[in-house]
Symmetry: C2
Amino acid sequence: MAEPVPDVTAEVRTANERFYAAIETGDLDAMQALWVDDEACVCVHPGAVPVRGPGAIGRSWALLMAGTAYLQFVLTDVEVSLREDVATVTCTENVLTAEEGGHLDPFAAGQVVSTNVFVLTAEGWRLWVRHASPVLSAIDDEQ
Amino acid sequence: MAEPVPDVTAEVRTANERFYAAIETGDLDAMQALWVDDEACVCVHPGAVPVRGPGAIGRSWALLMAGTAYLQFVLTDVEVSLREDVATVTCTENVLTAEEGGHLDPFAAGQVVSTNVFVLTAEGWRLWVRHASPVLSAIDDEQ
């Protein structure tokens, strides 16, 4: 794992930002286009069991998008790591959300930690694995 | 992402099993040897924020091992996916645990879903990223 080449890292960051933009705008087509067309792809939503394959993953996002009127992500602690044509992005999602007809509650969803694994395809960087989990404790093991 | 070659998949499964054996036996040296020697490696413990780099990851496992008298993992839904020399393993960890001096409680820790990302090095398959999260809901998005 050599030092990431800056422009490749930027490409991966852009793909990662497109993923969050697809959620924020409720754009299911954009979301589905972001995943590799392979039954091996996996998505773990916070607190849930794995969803496997593009079809099931698309349906899970459709359900999430239908149930939420407003979602905004402020990403912090974004780190990209590269290994040939595989890239991992780990980040903290600071999520603002509002239920349908409801008031914006900046603490409704709180913090989620995510690992997004992208692979380089002929169409660009595509999601292979996403694993998201709620932050239940403020303990930082590094300190 | 071609169909995984059977023996490579078996190698990855063995590396994954070594990881859980290291936790079960409290073998910190074995645990540390399983990680790539690269500051880019990341470990997300259930409900926690990311721990980055081999040093901090080793310390976090030392802390976890010191705080638990008994841990046993029964892995289910283990799926391996390969992309060149990167492999992802997603599995459900059915965790049996006991506190120091305590009684074995099969429901103490419950279910954890994990994504373990391995890379092939000169020393074999090594952990690059691990992301573990508690299963908080029995909802299966696939159904």
